[in-house]
């Protein structure tokens, strides 16, 4: 039996493969704190959101975390729940943001919103399920600062990607 696939399925598969590649490459980078990493794979999610809309972006975001964790062997481990919680929250906030009338956000705004939501959800999961200790709250300002900085970096990269692809066309 051959599964009928749509053009959109192929698009999602291609883009997810791209996001997974970045996700895997990034997981090799050392990190000063668990949960802190640049989140460069998010570049793909944001670019897809701007170019193809929220539906495709949501698929790419969720599949990336799922497949990434299978490949890295962290599926169903605490790491997985942290990053899955983060991914779901960031996709949810991107959905809300893209519904705002007048479409006031560009890649930078989407990226910072999504980084903040990702970090906040990740922190929430860590705090409520794994380490419910008040001392963890002292990390929150640092983690959120990191999220804002990495959000700005990814957003700027997405904006630059669109600028250079427009020039070429």
């Amino acid at each position: 039996m051959i599964l009928q696939t749509t053009r959109e399925d192929h698009l999602i598969a291609w883009l997810t493969a791209l996001a997974i590649t970045i996700h895997l490459a990034e997981s090799a980078l050392p990190s000063p704190l668990p949960g802190v990493k640049p989140g460069l794979a998010n570049i793909i999610t944001i670019a897809v959101l701007v170019r193809f809309g929220w539906r495709v972006a949501a698929w790419v975001g969720v599949l990336r975390v799922l497949v990434g964790s299978l490949v890295l062997g962290t599926f169903l481990s605490p790491t997985f729940f942290l990053s899955f919680g983060g991914a779901v929250a960031s996709i949810a906030i991107l959905g809300l943001a893209s519904l705002v009338p007048g479409r006031p956000f560009g890649p930078l705004g989407y990226s910072v919103l999504s980084a903040l939501a990702h970090m906040a959800a990740q922190f929430g999961v860590a705090y409520y399920f794994f380490i419910p200790h008040a001392a963890l709250l002292h990390l929150l300002p640092v983690l959120m600062t990191a999220a804002v900085i990495f959000g700005i970096v990814s957003g700027t990269i997405v904006a630059a990607m669109f600028r250079s692809s427009e020039k070429r066309c």
Binding site: G106, G109, A135
Partner: protein, 119 residues
Amino acid sequence: MRPGDLLVLLLAAVLVSYLYLAFWGPGTAGEYAVIHANGSEWQKVSLHEEHEWQVPGPLGTSTLEVRDGRIRFSDSPCQNKACIHSGWLSHGGEAAACLPNRISVQVIGRDRRYDSISF
């Protein structure tokens, strides 16, 4: 950059500064301090009244000074004076100890800055 992006950046800056203030801001001031000598409680002292407490220990008398809602070891017969170097304590949970003279002091406030401290 779109107008919404600027708004997001502003909100993010406000959020992050609020978090620093809320979680890294000064702890609550201590109300009183408990002085332990020889392993048992010697006295609870208010941090609101200026006073010098003379606390007897195995080596001699240590002096604890209370001023402006803070407390410190101001004099001690011990050798390395680690207790005096601990300086002023004012926040709930902060503590200093003179191990040779078996005297310690801990500030008690509404909430504690540390659960426990080990050296």
